[in-house]
Amino acid sequence: MSYYLDLAFNGLVFGCMYALMAVGLTLVYGLLRILHIAHAAVYAFGAYVAVIVANGTGSLALGLAASIGAAALLGMAIYRALYQPLLAYPPYVPMIASIGLLVLMEDGFRIAFGEQGLTFARNPYPTQLHELAGLTVNTVQIAIVGAAIACVGLLALVAYRTRIGIGWRATVSDPAMAASFGVDAIKVRYLNFAIGSALAALAGALIALLNNFVEPSMGFVVSYKALAVIVLGGLGSLQGTLVASLALGLVESYGTIFVGHFMDRDAIAFLFLIAVLIVRPQGLAGLKTA
């Protein structure tokens, strides 16, 4: 029985990681209808900054702070330099630019920091074990789940209880109307990218801690999954994204054990996506609009 609980917990950890990534993507998509594939590069960037600063200063906290801050700036820069000039074109145009940026940055990491990747100089966390309801889990896994809950909870709070949040939601559903009420659409966009990128960087840093390893191509694997998640979730819906993240994490966790000899993990994930879309073309929580 604890075997299935083990699998479930693993699925949960994965799901939380996907959630942290997917929230950023959903924020961008909800506002601009752009599939921000370069988000994965921000994730990897966050991981690299965390390792380098932590190793350089000896403080993990500083590494995390630097990672989140730098990524927020990077996200906003990406919007300004890459997407804003292309908003007039059909959405696949900025998507191609996004793919280009991902490829460029990942190769840049390889050239700048080596193919072999980087590790933390001091990282006792993945081996710090705790007993939780009969399961053995480590500190980083708990941190990932905790971070996901905290961030998403905070976002929900902001979105529904504060003026900024209301303004954001208004801009997403009707930019013109929101503008006429004095909401600055541009500020909202920058905020979106900043928050989304900060979350991606946090995810990257946490994964770097979990694996004690940062490599140039770490973004690729997660990027498509995160895309699958937001499509599943209904493109633009925060709740849908969360449900989809957790669902995907669990499906992968159980799927690789039971169907793993028939197709690999990525195929399982996408099969799940396609199956859902066949039944519900608008995603798990999407509105049946356009």
């Binding site: 075997y3 083990d6 699998l7 994965f14 072999q116 081996t127 053995t136 694996n211 966790s253 993990r265």
Partner: protein
Amino acid sequence: MIPATDRRPYWAWPLSALLTLWLAAVGPACAQVKLGFQAPLTGQAATDGKSANIAAEMAIEKINTGGGVLGQKMELVTYDDQAKTEEAVFTANKLIGQDGVKFAVSGSYSASGRAAAPIFQKAAVPFISAYGVHPDITRSGDYIFRTVHLGPPQGRAAAKFLADNLGRKRVSVITMDNDYGQATFEGFKSAVDRFGIKVLGEYTYSLKDRQFGSIVASVKRDNPDAVYVTGYFFTAAPLVSQLRSAGIQAPIVGSQAFDAQKLIEIAGPAVEGVYIVGGLNRDRDVPELKEYLAGFEKRSGYAGENVGATVYSAVRLMADAIGRAGSLDPAKVRDALAATHNFPHLAGELVSFNSLREINMPMNVNVVKEGKFRHYAWIDDLQLLAPPTE
């Protein structure tokens, strides 16, 4: 103003120009022996490609400082094949058609070696696959040789090691799902009955995976006496860490590709005591090995491992065969290669090539002790390790 003593005679410049021109013209005539070399310098396999490249260059330098081959210098013509079949085909054609190489070494992965071999065979160019393990590589023809153990013998050796050296018979197996992992696992399975091993569970993972929660949970449920894992350092390091974190204390036996310093760097204390079948024996008291390890670490910034060592030896072997053949005729060099006897490979004594041009060579087993790879045992049952003959 140039002092009088420093002023060169007025005919110095035209003379040196003439000299340069003459050397340039005559240069190609003082021909260098070109050795074609394919390695994955970019792409997924770039880490090994870098090792292979450095090792090959070191080998060439060693050869040339020792007088070259048959009095001529050897020159490396390197192409990046990105470990992809179409690039391998393309660069092989380039080496033969454009660069006119008569000898070649593959410092790349299986798929690329497999694609390139038939092309070199057709052109009658002796070709050594340094560490590519696809079985069909040597089946391409009699000009194709391989200087690394195939997957199946590695698997069989692991079975023997588990049963005879460690006395563990209830084993869970975790394999990576590429050709190397599959082939090694096939070899392992073929020997389990002979050594009385019971396979409690078989699990596969993808090269892209870094989190193995499902597999770890399953192995924990199996509760084996030992775990056999195939993988590269970037999958093995997290996998072993996670196995240990889950409380699995059983000995872990890893495959050849574990054998990289990065494994220890990433996984730290978790890999203490892990055994590696087919790892490079760095403790051998052989001067050339020590020289190689020191030089490699200086150039690359990381400690030497299997991939580099086999590539280095493959290049040295090619030069050695040319020397023994006493001629640059590819057919004669091919025969010399086939007749190789007790060649000093960096990983051990390359006893001979069999009829399929696969190596007869003992296999080393390392153990990770105090953060270093130490020699633990030799598997020298050459019959058990015997590669296929067709």
